[in-house]
C-alpha cells in the first residue's frame, strides 16, 4: 500500500524516471530541466495549463519525440527511445487523447495489431480472441472482440486502448486526459480500473485537467508551468486551489456569479420540441444568463441548435423581443437577433485558413460593403475593436486563427457572435478545451456583456461553470425538462438531483 511520496522514496525504487529533461522546438524551450519519477503501483498525476509542456513530456516518454538533453530512465538505466515501438518494447504504453485505434478493424485485431499470434503463416484468430477476452474481462468490458471498434462508445474505445496496453504487459501506462470525453459515470468506472491496475503493480502517469479527479486518484502530483516543474508532492495535503495556483502562478479566485438585474424580455420559448426533446419553455431577459443543463444526451444541445436553425423544430411560441420569428436556418437566426458560439470550436467554430479579422467579420460582410467590395478598413477596425474589447492575444489580426491558443480562438468565435449585434447570445460549452486561466477570463467577459444588457442562453455540461455563470437554469433529463432552478436553489447538488431524475 502506498501512502506518501516520502514513504515511497524509502521503500520502492522508481520504475521510470524523467531525468533533467529538456526539449526545444526551433530554439523555443517547451520543457525545461524537468525531473520526476513514477514507482511500481503508483498513480502519478501530471497537471498544468495548456502549453505547460505535459504533451511534450509524454511524447518523449512514448518515443515520439527525442529529448534535447536529459533522459528517460527505466529501472535506473538510461534508455534511448527513438520510436514509439522501442518505448513499447521498454514496457511503456501511451494512450493519447486522440485514440490510435483502427476504426474498421475488430476489437481483437486492434488489441493485437502488429503482433498477431500466428499458427504457421496464418493468424491464429482463436488465440487472438481468447487473449482479447481475457484482458477485456479484466477491465470489465463485455463486448464481443470480433466487432469493429467504430461500433463502440467512446468510453469503450478508451478501454480497448487500455486493453491493448495490458496485453503488451506494459509496466508503465501513460494516460492523456482519459476522461475528457466520458460521462461522469463512465469516468468513475475508468478511475476504478486505473486504481486496480495500479494495485496490480502497474505504474500510471495520469495527465488531466480535471483537478477533482486528480485529487481523487493520484498518489503524487507533479505540476508543470511554462515547461518547468513547479513541484511534486504527495496528494495528501493538496487541494484544488493550491493546484490551480501552482498551475497559473497566482492565486485564482473563482468569483461567484455577480448579482444580475434582469431587464426587458428578450426571448420567450413555449413548448419547444426538437428531435426527441419535448415541452421546453423558458423566458430570457436582458442582463441575465439562463442555463440549459443536464447530463450528456439530455437534449440541451438539440434545443440550442434548434433555436439557431441547425435542426428543424416545432414550438407553440418563439418570440424575440415580442416578435414571433421563423427560423429555418442559421442566416435567419442571425437576422432574428441570435448570436451563437458552437460547442466544438475546432469542428464548428473557427475557420482555420482565414486570418483573425476575417473570422470575426464572416457573418456580417453584407454590412461592410462599398459597392461590390468589402471595405477593408471597416473590416480591420472591427477586428481591432474586438481584439481590445475581448483581449484577444495575438501578434496581429492578420494572423491565421489556427495559430492561436484555445482560449484566444474561443474569443475570436465569441467576437464573431457579437459582431452580428445580437440581442440573444447562445453559448454552447463556452470553455470546452480552454485552460484554467483563460476560462476565468472568458467568464468575466461574459459577466461584462451581461452587465451591459446582453441576454445569454448557456448550454454547458460543466456544473461549476453553470453555477458560476447562470442565475437561472432549466435542468433536463432524457429530453424532458425536469424543473427550473434560480437563486439560492441553484446548486450543483440540486442540478444533479434533477438531471438524474429519470436516470434509473
Amino acid at each position: 500500500m502506498i501512502e506518501t511520496g516520502d514513504d515511497l522514496e524509502m521503500t520502492t525504487p522508481p520504475l521510470l524516471e524523467v531525468a533533467d529533461l529538456t526539449r526545444r522546438f526551433h530554439g523555443v524551450v517547451a520543457v525545461d530541466h524537468v525531473d520526476f519519477d513514477v514507482r511500481p503501483g503508483e498513480i502519478h498525476a501530471l497537471v498544468g495549463e495548456n502549453g505547460a509542456g505535459k504533451s511534450t513530456v509524454i511524447n518523449v516518454i512514448g518515443g515520439v519525440l527525442q529529448p534535447s538533453s536529459g533522459s528517460i530512465r527505466i529501472d535506473g538505466q538510461s534508455r534511448h527511445l527513438p520510436t514509439p515501438a522501442s518505448a513499447q518494447d521498454a514496457g511503456i504504453s501511451v494512450i493519447f487523447q486522440e485514440f490510435n485505434l483502427l476504426p474498421h478493424l475488430s476489437v481483437a485485431e486492434n488489441i493485437y495489431i502488429n503482433r498477431e499470434p500466428t499458427r504457421g503463416p496464418v493468424i491464429d484468430w482463436q488465440a487472438m480472441q481468447r487473449g482479447s477476452m481475457e484482458v477485456l474481462q479484466r477491465l470489465g468490458l463485455e463486448v464481443d472482440p470480433r466487432i469493429a471498434v467504430d461500433q463502440l462508445s467512446v468510453a469503450q474505445q478508451q478501454l480497448v486502448e487500455i486493453a491493448r496496453a495490458l496485453s503488451f504487459k506494459s509496466r508503465v501506462i501513460v494516460m492523456d486526459e482519459p476522461t475528457a470525453s466520458l460521462s461522469d459515470r463512465e469516468a468513475d468506472r475508468l478511475l476504478e480500473i486505473v486504481r486496480d491496475l495500479a494495485a496490480e503493480g502497474t505504474a500510471i502517469i495520469y495527465v488531466s485537467h480535471r483537478l477533482a479527479e486528480v485529487l481523487a486518484i493520484a498518489d503524487r502530483v507533479t505540476v508543470l508551468r511554462d515547461g518547468r516543474r513547479v513541484f511534486t508532492r504527495p496528494r495528501e495535503g493538496l487541494d484544488e486551489s493550491q493546484l490551480v495556483a501552482a498551475m497559473v502562478g497566482r492565486e485564482l479566485v473563482y468569483t461567484a456569479s455577480p448579482q444580475r438585474v434582469p431587464g426587458e424580455l428578450r426571448l420567450r420559448v413555449r413548448d419547444f420540441a426538437v428531435d426527441r426533446v419535448e415541452g421546453v419553455s423558458f423566458d430570457l431577459h436582458a442582463g441575465e444568463v439562463v442555463g440549459l443543463a443536464g447530463l450528456m444526451g439530455c437534449g440541451a444541445t438539440e434545443v440550442v441548435e434548434g433555436l439557431f436553425g441547425l435542426r428543424p423544430f416545432a414550438a407553440k411560441e418563439v418570440t424575440v423581443v415580442g416578435q414571433a420569428i421563423a427560423i429555418r436556418g442559421p442566416g435567419e437566426a442571425l437576422r432574428s437577433g441570435f448570436g451563437y458560439v458552437p460547442d466544438d470550436r475546432k469542428r464548428k467554430g473557427i475557420v482555420p485558413d482565414l486570418p483573425i479579422k476575417h473570422n470575426i467579420s464572416l457573418g456580417v460582410l453584407g454590412r461592410m460593403r462599398r459597392l461590390l467590395f468589402i471595405d477593408g478598413r471597416r473590416d480591420r477596425s472591427m477586428a481591432e475593436g474586438f481584439k481590445q474589447r475581448l483581449n484577444i492575444r495575438c501578434h496581429d489580426i492578420e494572423q491565421e486563427v489556427a495559430g492561436l491558443s484555445g482560449g484566444n480562438q474561443q474569443k475570436v468565435v465569441l467576437a464573431r457572435a457579437l459582431a452580428s449585434e445580437s440581442r440573444v447570445l447562445i453559448l454552447a460549452e463556452p470553455t470546452r478545451g480552454v485552460d484554467v486561466g483563460a476560462k476565468e477570463e472568458i467568464y468575466s467577459l461574459i459577466d461584462g456583456l451581461v452587465a451591459d444588457g446582453m441576454a445569454v442562453l448557456l448550454q454547458t455540461s460543466e456544473l461549476p461553470e453553470l453555477i458560476r455563470l447562470a442565475n437561472r437554469c432549466v435542468v433536463m433529463a432524457n429530453g424532458i425538462p425536469q424543473g427550473e432552478l434560480a437563486g439560492s436553489e441553484l446548486t450543483q447538488e440540486a442540478v444533479m438531483t434533477l438531471a438524474t431524475r429519470f436516470d434509473v
Binding site: G331, G349, V351, D353, H358, L365, F373
Partner: protein
C-alpha cells in the same frame, strides 16, 4: 517589434507561395533558350502564351472550386458541349449571341453540378464524373457523332485571334482575384472550403456558395471550349478530352492546396504557363510524342516536389532566421 517581424514573416511566406512557380517558369525558360534557338522567338512565345491561356481560363474557375473544397471533373465535357451549342447558334443568330449561348450553357450545367453537390450531398468527385459522362453523351447525340464546322463565318475567330486568349485569361484572372480578395462571395468561398460547418454556423449560406462556384467554373470551361472551337472552327463530342486533369494540374502547380480554404489566381496563371512552356520545349527539342507525356509527368512531379521542399526550406531555415534577427 514582434508584430513587424511577424508581418515580414507572413509577407515573405505569401510572396513565396504566390511566386515560387514563377521561378520555375523563368528557370525552364532559361534552359530552353540555351538548348534551342527556336524558343526565344516572338512567334513561339505567342504560341506558348496562347496555349497557356486556354488552359488557364478553365484553371482559374477550377481554382475557385478547389478553394471551396471541391473538384470539377466535368470541365472538359462542358467545354465540348458549350463549343457545340455555340457553333450551332452562330450561323442563325450571329457571333455575339453564339458566344453568349455557350457561356450560358456552361454556367447552367455548372449550376446543376452545384445543385447535385450541395443539395443531394453527392461528393463532387462522383457528381461531376456523372455529368462528365452524361454531357459527353449529349454532345455526341447532338452532333450526331460528326464534326460541326463553321463555314464562311470568320467573325467567330475573334475568340482565338492574336492576343485574345491571353487577354481573356488575364481578364478572368483579374476578376476572380478581386472576387477572392475583396468580395463577400470570395470570403465565403474560402470559409466554406476551410471549414464548412463553421461557415454555415457563421451565417454563410454554404449551399448557395457551391451553386455559384460551380456555375462560375462552368462558364470558364465554356469559354475555354469556345476558344478551342474558334481555333479549329469545329466542334465535336471529343473536343477537350482530358482538359479536367490539365486544369487541376495547373491549379495545384500554381500553389492552391487541394484541401480548400485558399486560392491564388496568379499562381494558376503561372502554373499554366509552366506546363505550356514544358510542352513547347519538348516539341522544339523533337522529343518523340510518346515520350512527351512521360516527360511532362516527371517534370510536374519534380516541380511540385521541389516547391514543397522549398516551402520546408522556408519554414525551417528562412523563417527562423527572420525570427532570430528580431531577438
Amino acid at each position: 517589434m514582434t508584430s513587424v517581424v511577424d508581418g515580414v514573416r507572413r509577407t515573405a511566406l505569401a510572396v513565396w507561395r504566390t511566386y515560387r512557380v514563377g521561378l520555375f517558369v523563368v528557370a525552364v525558360g532559361l534552359v530552353l533558350t540555351l538548348l534551342t534557338p527556336r524558343f526565344l522567338v516572338e512567334g513561339n512565345l505567342v504560341n506558348v502564351l496562347t496555349n497557356a491561356a486556354v488552359v488557364a481560363i478553365v484553371g482559374l474557375g477550377m481554382t475557385l472550386v478547389i478553394a471551396s473544397g471541391n473538384f470539377d471533373l466535368s470541365v472538359g465535357a462542358i467545354a465540348a458541349f458549350a463549343g457545340a451549342i455555340s457553333l450551332s447558334v452562330v450561323p442563325t443568330l450571329g457571333v455575339g449571341p453564339g458566344i453568349a449561348a455557350g457561356l450560358i450553357a456552361g454556367a447552367v450545367v455548372g449550376f446543376v453540378n452545384g445543385l447535385i453537390v450541395a443539395e443531394l450531398r453527392v461528393p463532387a468527385f462522383i457528381a461531376t464524373l456523372g455529368t462528365l459522362t452524361i454531357l459527353r453523351g449529349l454532345t455526341l447525340i447532338y452532333t450526331g457523332g460528326r464534326d460541326i464546322y463553321l463555314v464562311g463565318e470568320t467573325g467567330y475567330k475573334i475568340l482565338s485571334a492574336g492576343a485574345m486568349p491571353v487577354v481573356l485569361a488575364v481578364l478572368v484572372a483579374a476578376i476572380l482575384a478581386q472576387v477572392v480578395a475583396r468580395t463577400r462571395l470570395g470570403r465565403h468561398v474560402l470559409a466554406v472550403g476551410s471549414n464548412q460547418a463553421a461557415a454555415t454556423r457563421a451565417g454563410v449560406r454554404s449551399n448557395r456558395i457551391l451553386w455559384v462556384v460551380f456555375a462560375i467554373v462552368g462558364a470558364t470551361a465554356a469559354l475555354t471550349g469556345m476558344i478551342i472551337s474558334a481555333q479549329v472552327l469545329t466542334a465535336n463530342g471529343r473536343l477537350a478530352t482530358g482538359l479536367e486533369l490539365s486544369a487541376i494540374a495547373v491549379v495545384v502547380i500554381g500553389g492552391t492546396p487541394l484541401t480548400g480554404g485558399r486560392a491564388t489566381m496568379i499562381g494558376t496563371l503561372l502554373g499554366a504557363l509552366l506546363i505550356s512552356e514544358i510542352n513547347n520545349g519538348l516539341n522544339l527539342l523533337n522529343v518523340p510524342v510518346f515520350y512527351q507525356s512521360l516527360t511532362t509527368g516527371v517534370l510536374l512531379l519534380a516541380a511540385v516536389g521541389v516547391s514543397t521542399a522549398g516551402r520546408q526550406f522556408m519554414k525551417r531555415a528562412i523563417l527562423p532566421l527572420i525570427s532570430r534577427m528580431s531577438e
